[in-house]
């Protein structure tokens, strides 16, 4: 018989949870509730008063072609940058896990990018990708007009995707490497002795065993690509050219803080929140089925 120590009274449990609940309420539910309220009113920026307008803010946003353009841009950005960041990190982690020469060095170096603040790395990439002065200037010498993020929306989108992916490769790498190292060596050695090659071992043993990590990173990467892209967009493109990189989170900022349209921005942030919730539910419902927890 196992002996258990239990608290009879549930109030103690609640008491322990109170600090956490207070934090969540103050920093999440209360502001979120405030945003919902603002989205249903027209707020005067200086606090002179507000008018109840019901769902008018949502209606005018959803009727705006620029907003749909912003949603499309965000989805394209989320899809490509998540795919790129996860794929590159997976390959790098798999190689590092094989204990090739210098893998200890890679292990340290590859984690660094995540430690760099988004605006700082955006500044660095702005120099690297500048069409007239940076690395891309060399390519522009060979093919004039090949790279022009100042006017070509696709080029600008590519630059922010590269910058964002570069940062998240570091983050994903940590998790992938940990997942690989959690796989018992004996499994892999046994497979090797049975004569399977590197690729075969990867697809039949390692990959299925790290699916929980892949799923976790997928959810995190998609969520972060909606939220953490702000600093990169702000420094690199300011949402241009011609709104090509005006991601949802950046549009919220520019409408709300630069345009002082607090209500419109609040409505947009509610929509963004719902979109992330829906995407996450979708991932849990349909993708998690293919995940094998051991």
């Amino acid at each position: 018989m196992e002996k258990r120590v239990t608290f009879s009274s549930w109030t103690i449990g609640i008491l322990f949870a109170v600090p956490q609940l207070l934090l969540i309420f103050t920093f999440f539910y209360w502001p979120a509730g405030q945003a919902v309220y603002w989205s249903l009113t027209l707020q005067q920026p200086w606090g002179g008063g507000n008018i109840w307008v019901g769902l008018d803010n949502f209606r005018s946003i959803l009727a705006n072609a620029d907003y749909w353009n912003s949603i499309t841009a965000s989805l394209v950005f989320a899809g490509i940058s998540t795919g790129l960041a996860m794929f590159v990190a997976l390959v790098l982690a798999a190689l590092t896990d094989r204990q090739l020469a210098g893998s200890r060095l890679y292990r340290v170096v590859l984690i660094w990018p995540y430690g760099i603040a988004a605006p700082a790395l955006a500044m660095a990439f702005r120099f690297v990708l500048a069409p007239e002065a940076g690395f891309m200037a060399v390519i522009n010498q060979v093919w004039p007009g090949f790279w022009d993020p100042g006017l070509d929306g696709a080029d600008a989108m590519a630059s922010i995707i590269i910058a964002f992916s570069w940062k998240y490769v570091g983050y994903n790498f940590i998790f992938f490497l940990a997942a690989f190292q959690a796989i018992p060596r004996s499994l892999i050695e046994a497979a090797a002795m049975d004569g399977s090659g590197v690729m075969r071992r990867f697809w039949d043993i390692q990959f299925p065993l790290i699916t929980p990590t892949i799923f976790f990173l997928l959810v995190i990467n998609i969520t972060e690509s909606f939220q953490d892209s702000f600093g990169i967009v702000d420094i690199m493109t300011s949402g241009g050219p011609a709104n090509a990189t005006n991601l949802m989170v950046y549009k919220i900022y520019s409408d709300g803080f630069k345009g002082l349209d607090y209500s419109g921005a609040a409505a947009q942030s509610i929509i963004l929140m719902l979109l992330i919730v829906v995407l996450t539910i979708f991932q849990f419902r349909f993708i998690e089925r293919r995940v094998h927890y051991r």
């Binding site: 707020q43 920026p45 606090g47 002179g48 008018i51 007239e132 993020p149 050219p241 409408d255 002082l260």
Partner: protein, 450 residues
């Protein structure tokens, strides 16, 4: 003799210091001033504040930079909502309409009157005063840092095509740019087409040509003003700029691409730019060794009866909800800034122009504009005072104009990337801009601009 003189001087100094020391027993009244300049300019503002604090003992201004104009307005709003607003804040030109409807200010002219300062409002250059004044002419805020747009031209490049003067008309500009291109210049003229350049490309152009940007006299006569830049001379201007861009006469230069306009001009890469007189000092300090250049008024189309250009910059707003003692200090501070000597200090250390006639005259009398690094800046005054401001060239009084500028950048980029035609792009600018104005009007139901 000298000993007696020194003794007298020491005596006088002693008497003076005791006289000054008496009010100093009371702690000086402190008040906050938030401004939106950074870098070199912020240091000049700090010196200005120190000079004010040293000039008297009753008040102490605490000056804090908020980084840029946008952030200053945002932070001030947040502070105001929390009841912790500064006493004085610097708000940029296009924030004027928002400030006027905020109900969060104390009219500057009333403040000065209450505290016994006589300000001669007719002394302000009309082009500057009208931008910030109500439709009835009352000054709710004080013009602070002011500039206007000028054309910077490379004398060496123009000499190569046989010209000794800057082009006065856009027709001449087109011909000169072509000639420079033919003479082997890679980048005859540089522009940028982001939200910031709405100022020189759309706003200044429209004022000089006496073309409206919006109905209701650019918004001065009501919140129901709507844009109309898609049917003025501005359409032809954008068409010409695009034509010159396609022909390789104009290059787009921006910081994102590696080099901004001012750097491109100062390094001799590009031969003509249009930017603020505030960049006059920067070009002088960073120019390529030996390069000869000058500034001129922005060109106008042939046959245009030229009007004044618009002022750019910011004004000082006094916020409500402060004590009488603080307001006394603020009034003294504004009076200090208004002084012609401060104008000289301010303009010498920045590229900004004096805002009053007396300030300008004082600077002329000191020979400021004859000396090499500052010579040319008087062109800005000439441009601002080219005519008495008309109903349209007074300024722009539109709500959320920052967003309209952003829309300008977006549509210009679409036009220059060949996504839309010039007319389509400007039509969309008007359509989206009107939606912004619509929203602003709805946010302030039943209110009118003062």
């Amino acid at each position: 003799m000298t000993i007696i003189k020194r003794g007298l001087a020491a005596l006088a100094a002693g008497a003076l210091s005791t006289a000054l020391a008496v009010p100093a027993f009371a702690e000086p009244v402190k008040f906050d001033f938030w401004f939106g300049l950074s870098g070199d300019l912020a240091r000049v503002v700090d010196t200005l504040c120190k000079n004010f604090n040293a000039s008297q003992k009753d008040y102490e201004v605490v000056c804090t930079s908020q980084g840029n104009y946008d952030a200053t307005l945002q932070n001030t709003i947040a502070a105001f909502r929390a009841g912790k607003q500064p006493a004085v804040v610097q708000v940029y030109d296009v924030g004027t309409a928002t400030m006027m409807l905020s109900g969060a200010y104390k009219p500057a002219d009333k403040l000065m009157e209450e505290n016994g300062y006589k300000i001669d409002y007719a002394d302000y250059f009309p082009g500057i005063a009208r931008y910030y004044a109500t439709s009835k002419g009352e000054m709710l805020s004080f013009p602070f840092n002011s500039s206007t747009a000028l054309m910077y031209w490379n004398k060496d490049a123009f000499a190569k095509i046989g010209k000794t003067e800057a082009p006065k008309t856009w027709e001449d500009v087109g011909a000169d740019l072509q000639a420079m291109k033919d003479a082997g210049y890679e980048c005859p003229m540089a522009i940028n087409i982001s939200a910031n350049e709405s100022w020189q490309l759309m706003e200044q152009f429209s004022a000089i040509h006496n073309q409206p940007i919006a109905t209701k006299n650019n918004g001065y006569d009501g919140l129901d003003a709507r844009l109309e830049v898609n049917k003025t001379k501005f359409v032809q201007y954008v068409t010409d700029l695009k034509k010159w861009y396609d022909a390789g006469l104009i290059k787009i230069k921006s910081k994102d691409l590696g080099q901004d306009m001012v750097q491109a001009f100062a390094s001799g890469t590009c031969q003509v730019i249009m930017t603020s007189v505030g960049d006059h000092g920067t070009v002088g300090k960073t120019q390529k060794e030996g390069m000869k250049w000058d500034v001129a008024e922005l060109p106008a189309y042939a046959g245009t009866e030229r009007k004044n250009s618009l002022v750019g910059g910011a004004s000082l707003w006094v916020l409500s909800g402060k004590s009488d003692a603080e307001y006394k200090g603020v009034a003294a501070f504004l009076n200090f800034i208004h002084d012609p000597k401060t104008a000289l200090f301010w303009s010498t250390n920045t590229g900004y122009i004096p805002v009053t006639k007396s300030g300008f005259d004082y600077m002329k009398s000191t020979g400021f504009y004859d000396k090499a690094p500052y010579k040319g800046r008087e062109v800005a005054i000439a441009s601002l005072t080219a005519s008495e401001p008309t109903e349209i060239t007074r300024g722009i009084r539109l709500g959320n104009f920052t967003q309209i500028r952003a829309e300008f950048g977006t549509q210009m980029q679409a036009i220059f990337a060949n996504k839309v035609s010039v007319q389509q792009g400007l039509d969309t600018l008007v359509k989206n801009g009107d939606a912004i104005l619509d929203r602003f009007q709805q946010t302030y139901p039943g209110k009118t601009l003062p």
